[in-house]
Symmetry: C2
Subunit: 118 residues, 2 copies
DNA sequence: GATTAATTTCAATGATCGTTGAATTTAGGG
DNA sequence: CCCTAAATTCAACGATCATTGAAATTAATC
């Protein structure tokens, strides 16, 4: 498995972050990761948001914007928010983003307990 | 002068807001409006960020996303942030957005005192 | 009413975006 | 070693994006 690229948080530009958040599916992923019981989630947990191929595309966008992290484990990938690092770089931003997105009625949601790391 | 459209703040979607903020020039406009001495600014105040034609395009994006307001006065248009309304809808978001953008070293800046409404 | 300054409109461009589907990689279990 | 599950890669598509420049609008001023 080839290593996954994660940008230096200091090199992450605000405009790039907002570009990553400018999509309902990606916002849905962020909210699910923030609200889910598990800190890490398999890509497959999001299968009802989009096709696997499209999910890979969206995960890449989020990861390259510094929002998420990906960890390889066997044939799975575990996705999580880069909470602490991101908050240090952009204090308060992720919280208000999540709070804003959480109230959006027509964001794609994934049922509770469907996020798993196993 | 034909009236300018402003969306109902309740109808503004988070993803659309982030799309509006996902551009350096528009972020520069938002920061300038937030930090400038004048609450309202003429479009022409931003002439060194982009051509007039391109500025119109960017102002439209910001306005349709609920971020800014435009008021017609004579041959000019006065741009301002929709602060209170926006904050009521998305508490804390604009503040952390501006704070994040303010620290971006390669955002286009407009010199202090160059914003004017006259 | 002609002139001028501020801004918009419009058509055109190349670039990027979100999406699809089919083919490929990778790793674990029989 | 084969099979299956999980996810990526790749080429293609139409849609939207940021940008340009030339032409049109609009209103204050002479």
């Amino acid at each position: 498995m080839k290593p996954v690229f994660h940008p230096d948080m200091d090199a992450v530009e605000p405009a790039a972050v907002f570009a990553a958040l400018a999509d309902p599916i990606r916002l849905g992923i962020v909210v699910a990761l923030a609200d889910g019981a598990e800190v890490e989630a398999r890509c497959g947990s999001f299968n009802e948001l989009a096709s696997p191929s499209l999910l890979t595309y969206h995960f890449t966008k989020l990861r390259e914007a510094g929002v998420t992290r990906a960890r390889v484990e066997g044939t799975s990938r575990l996705i999580s928010l880069r909470r602490e690092e991101f908050d240090r770089r952009f204090p308060g931003l992720l919280d208000s983003v999540i709070e804003a997105a959480r109230r959006d009625p027509n964001l794609p949601r994934i049922p509770d307990g469907q996020l798993c790391r196993a």
